[in-house]
């Protein structure tokens, strides 16, 4: 069964149609990349999937359940986590504290006025595990707002991972990163996909990253679906080359 089934969704802002009747099916365990030129509607599409705003038309089915009308926090509870193109973190808290919020929400402690010793220890283990995974353990007690850009991006991914999601949405994880950092993030995403068996959908501008990682690629152009296929198919697709690859080459 597909973990994500998007059927003919559209998003209209006044006269602008940002996303036009896009359908997308993501299989469980897949690593899907969404590419497209600037203004293609990739981030709007992500916002529809994650519940940032509702679609004007169409339906979104997650894990066999229609979530079209659900607010973002409910989608998170169902196992969906995301990062943002512009890093969204808690700048005045430490890395550990940032990730702990997610771990406690995942454990269902959001309304708890008190946490016992064993529960606290379990949360700490969960946070440490995620920090080990993304390689931020050494910086666990630094304020996240004081970290380098690349580490902040990693911290945001760690926060998403603390929710132990079935589906992870990454909006340009390597945005603004140098080669070394881009490589590290690529390795991280690959590990998450292979070892954690996490279904991942990512938006990415860096074609090296996309062709390196993705099982399948979806191309959006001017809000509409232009093509979908394996990296080889997309690389050979003339429509894609014209609309997108041709311009950047």
């Amino acid at each position: 069964m597909n973990i994500l089934d998007i059927r003919n969704v559209s998003k209209r802002f006044g006269n602008l149609v940002a996303v036009r009747e896009v359908s997308l099916a993501v299989a469980r365990g897949e690593l899907r990349a969404i590419i497209g030129p600037n203004g293609a509607g990739k981030t709007t599409f992500f916002n529809l999937i994650s519940g940032f705003f509702p679609p004007t038309a169409g339906a979104i089915v997650f894990d066999g359940r229609d979530i079209t009308a659900l607010p973002a926090y409910r989608r998170v509870a169902l196992g969906m986590a995301r990062t943002f193109q512009i890093t969204e973190i808690f700048p005045e808290l430490t890395v550990f504290e940032n990730v702990r919020v997610g771990a406690e929400m995942k454990a269902g402690y959001g309304l708890r006025p008190y946490l016992g010793r064993t529960e606290t220890a379990a949360i700490k283990r969960a946070v440490d595990e995620v920090l080990d995974l993304v390689g931020l353990q050494a910086k666990a007690h630094r304020l996240v707002g004081e970290l380098a850009h690349g580490d902040q991006r990693c911290a945001e991914i760690a926060m998403a991972l603390s929710l132990a999601p079935h589906l992870l949405l990454l909006d340009e994880p390597t945005a603004g990163m140098g080669d070394q950092e881009t490589y590290q993030i690529t390795q991280l995403v690959r590990r998450l996909h292979r070892e954690k068996n996490c279904t991942i959908v990512l938006i990415e501008h860096d074609m090296r990253v996309v062709f390196h990682l993705a099982d399948r690629i979806t191309v959006l152009d001017q809000g509409a679906l232009l093509a979908e296929g394996s990296p080889q198919e997309i690389a050979a697709n003339t429509a894609v080359q014209e609309a997108y690859l041709g311009k950047t080459a």
């Binding site: 994650s50 607010p71 995301r82 969204e88 808690f90 702990r100 929400m105 402690y109 630094r142």
Partner: protein
């Protein structure tokens, strides 16, 4: 929390509680008096309640005087008509403020920033005008009179909190300790951490699965219960409830105390309230324009200590 920080907050705790517990003994040598300490405690509790929202949830309420006033009228009216027990009157005052806060909070929490502040002012003023106009119950402009705090009856003995200023100070300190302990426990809990998460980044909080509106509503309601206790204690302190205690300028005073003392710190508003009350006490005997001096100090603090008087003590990094 790192060990150094834990040690630091333990030291702060010991200093604060030593000063508060011994206040009736060290205040007079410094030219103070016990009733001044009582006023500081009451207003500090109110400012800390406002700061529970402002400093730890990132939501600015400019109408909390309404719930402070409801606590005061609730306590005053229950002493007048319902009960002879001072603690019970505080309970009733708290309940009135908290329930009103829960109902109005549900209407307010969808607003943000300036709009939130404006709506809290608007609802706050509603209560001010009710207290002002409904003279038969509230005494209108003259305020609510005809009640006074009652001795505490412990069966075998009773404590006279009416004429013994020190006894009343400790009575107030007991409730201050109770409420601040509840606040501290909540702020250290997972729920408290979701409040801080909302303050830091509402979007991120939402996408970590926090139902932001619901959590703000709970924090708002809790802070109304807390400030209701402060309002009730205020009524018992003066044996009087004043409609001006509900006015939005009173809300502004609470916000000023919190910001002046340091709104990102737990004890900041206590320091802010102490500075405010002491300045008021000394300056108002010198000039009727005492408020302009407090205002000047406020401007200086905001300019030179944007984190408040206590804020500069806090390290910027816990590394």
């Amino acid at each position: 929390m790192s060990k150094a920080l834990a040690a630091r907050s333990l030291v702060a705790l010991v200093i604060v509680w030593t000063l508060l517990l011994l206040a009736p003994y060290w205040l007079p040598p410094f030219g103070g008096y016990t009733a001044l300490g009582t006023r500081v405690l009451v207003l500090a509790l109110a400012a800390m309640s406002v700061n529970f929202l402002l400093g730890f949830t990132g939501v600015l309420s400019f109408g909390h005087a309404a719930y402070f006033g409801l606590g005061a009228y609730g306590a005053g009216l229950s002493l007048k008509f319902l009960t002879m027990s001072s603690p019970l009157s505080i309970f009733y005052g708290m309940l009135l403020a908290g329930i009103a806060g829960a109902i109005l909070g549900a209407l307010i929490v969808r607003r943000r920033g300036v709009y939130f502040a404006m709506v809290t002012i608007a609802f706050g003023q509603v209560f001010y005008y009710i207290a002002f106009q409904w003279s038969s119950l509230t005494g209108g402009d003259d305020g609510l009179r005809g009640f006074s705090r009652q001795p505490l009856d412990f069966g075998l003995f009773s404590v006279d909190i009416l004429s013994n200023a020190n006894a009343f100070y400790y009575f107030v300190l007991f409730f201050f300790a109770l409420v601040t302990a509840v606040m501290a426990v909540i702020l250290r809990s997972p729920f408290g951490r979701t409040m801080v998460a909302i303050r830091e980044n509402e979007r991120r909080a939402r996408f970590l699965g926090i139902p932001v509106e619901r959590h703000i509503w709970i924090a708002f309601t809790l802070s109304c219960f807390f400030i209701g206790v402060a309002g009730a204690l205020y009524a018992l302190t003066n044996n009087f409830a004043d409609p001006r205690g509900l006015h939005y300028s009173q809300s502004g005073d609470f916000v000023m105390m919190a910001v002046m003392g340091g709104m990102r710190t737990f004890w900041g508003p206590l320091l802010g309230a102490a500075v405010f009350v002491i300045l008021q006490d000394y300056l108002s005997s010198v000039t009727v324009n005492w408020m302009s001096f407090v205002g000047l100090l406020f401007v200086l603090v905001v300019l030179f200590f944007p984190r408040g008087l206590l804020g500069f003590i806090r390290p910027t990094s816990k590394a």
